[in-house]
Symmetry: C2
Subunit: 295 residues, 2 copies
């Protein structure tokens, strides 16, 4: 898609929404959105990670990492993570949680899986950004996830933006499997794209991770077991009684409203911005999340 | 500078350092560096910000914002900041400190200054990155700061990478002056480039900012005065007795060693990386800082 065609589509979308020429701000786009611009989180693909400070909610991305997601769901359902801990917090990089003492048994899930670093682009919905990216031929959004494609459009993969969740691994590409997970809490480490299997993203509660004390060991590992942050449990949302769930909706990324939101992020029309920018980098387009409104 | 020419220079630099063809890792570059690859912090352009949890060290950038830097030094020296507080912590964005109650008197410094959003590129040393950037025609490093230039090379400005420090302002472009300062604690908000006057960067202690509790008010402001984080003092390093200073050195950004470091960040040669990347985004090149070694 050329930049020019994209801009025409954007202008059409903006006009559609406003019936006028005034460009929208991000707040305008959200306030003018309709129910169909949002989708509920699928409770079968949503994890609740319970920290002492509260709940972190992760949306899984089975379309990009089906085997890892299935395995993580199996690990969660056998209680693998319950009582484990966050054992690594590296400033401007990641938090990581898992079995720091390497003692936990795995009953039904798998310990390792073949890497799912990328997948065929075919069949992946993709709303492209028109601006250049340092790391990939094309970047954009797929089903609510920041993603990338190569220039030829042959493969697609998830991008390491703030809040992205991945499966830690050792040197071997297929030494991960979901028993150790990490979330990005700093500037996007896009050099990890296609080097680790990303499995989803934090849609609520990332700040519970990002305020954790930084580990003073190598790579941000906590040096003493007492410093680790206990992980009470991870549950699949579908397995949690409905009254205890957190009902969330995600802004859809395949709508004219989302295209208008991209344009609002690209060109800053509010008066504070003296330089209107006219471009936006992938990880600077936050995908709105809200509590399900009472209807 | 074309990508190809740049790569040749990089290879020459790498060969120079090793006398061999093996590519260097970042750790190699640091361990092989010599004393002349580092420079001391200038105590006249260095601020010590004392939080309850410790010292945050900021290097000022007078070459980019001479009037703001002079004014901030004046504010610091009249004790303007002492006893004020961090009053805003917005997740994945900024911490901000200043006079939340708007009661502090300014004696000798100025309250507002004309914006210094950019400057003529002429006279600005610049080590360019060869990779595309979303926001600017050219990006690179100038005297230890992440910076950008327009494609024509007419103007240059500092970039909002993690740790960048800027002068908050109201809607008017020239309503800032250094009385309210902020530091980036999340993904680089590069849309702020040329919209705010950047005055320097945190070279040590950014994690003391980034772990602070997030404000629950609009834009991450703390809602209750009791939530604010006290700022004991800000001092110019030169005004602090030598025994109480933190002696730091910064990796120079105008040397073959730095060019080798860029290449080490661009192409990841260690075995863990299965996809070697071959590119790097401006804010993913950390500029090394170390304690002055005993000689």
């Amino acid at each position: 898609m050329t930049g020019i065609a994209f801009r025409s589509a954007l202008l059409a979308a903006a006009t559609l929404m406003l019936g006028a020429a005034k460009p929208l701000t991000t707040a305008d786009v959200i306030s003018q959105s309709t129910a169909s611009d949002w989708r509920p989180l699928d409770p079968q693909q949503t994890l609740y990670l319970e920290l002492p400070a509260g709940r972190v909610i992760i949306e899984l991305a089975p379309q990009f990492a089906p085997k890892h997601v299935a395995n993580i769901l199996a690990l969660v359902r056998e209680g693998y993570f319950d009582g484990l801990a966050v054992m690594r917090v590296q400033d401007n990089y990641v938090v990581q949680w898992g079995d720091a003492d390497n003692k936990r048994e795995i009953r039904t899930a798998k310990k390792t899986l073949n890497a799912e670093f990328d997948r065929p682009a075919k069949g992946v919905p993709f709303t492209a950004l028109p601006d250049p990216d340092t790391y990939a031929g094309q970047v954009g959004f797929s089903n609510g996830f920041a993603a990338a494609r190569d220039s030829a459009g042959g493969t697609a993969w998830l991008a390491h933006c703030y809040g992205a969740v991945g499966a830690g691994r050792d040197t071997d590409a297929s030494s991960g499997g979901g028993t150790e997970l990490y979330a990005v809490i700093g500037h996007s480490p896009r050099h990890l794209d296609r080097n680790v299997t990303l499995v989803g993203r934090v849609v609520k509660g990332i700040e519970l991770f990002s305020v954790l004390p930084r580990g003073t060991g190598n790579l941000g590992f906590y040096e003493k077991p007492g410093e680790r942050v206990p992980l009470r449990s991870i549950r699949v949302a579908a397995d949690v009684p409905e009254a205890e769930r957190t009902p969330l909706e995600i802004f859809r990324t395949d709508t004219p409203a989302f295209t208008a939101l991209i344009e609002a992020r690209r060109t800053r029309t509010d008066e504070w911005f003296k330089y209107k920018v006219g471009r936006v980098e992938l990880c600077n387009v936050p995908i709105p999340v809200r509590e399900v409104p009472k209807r």
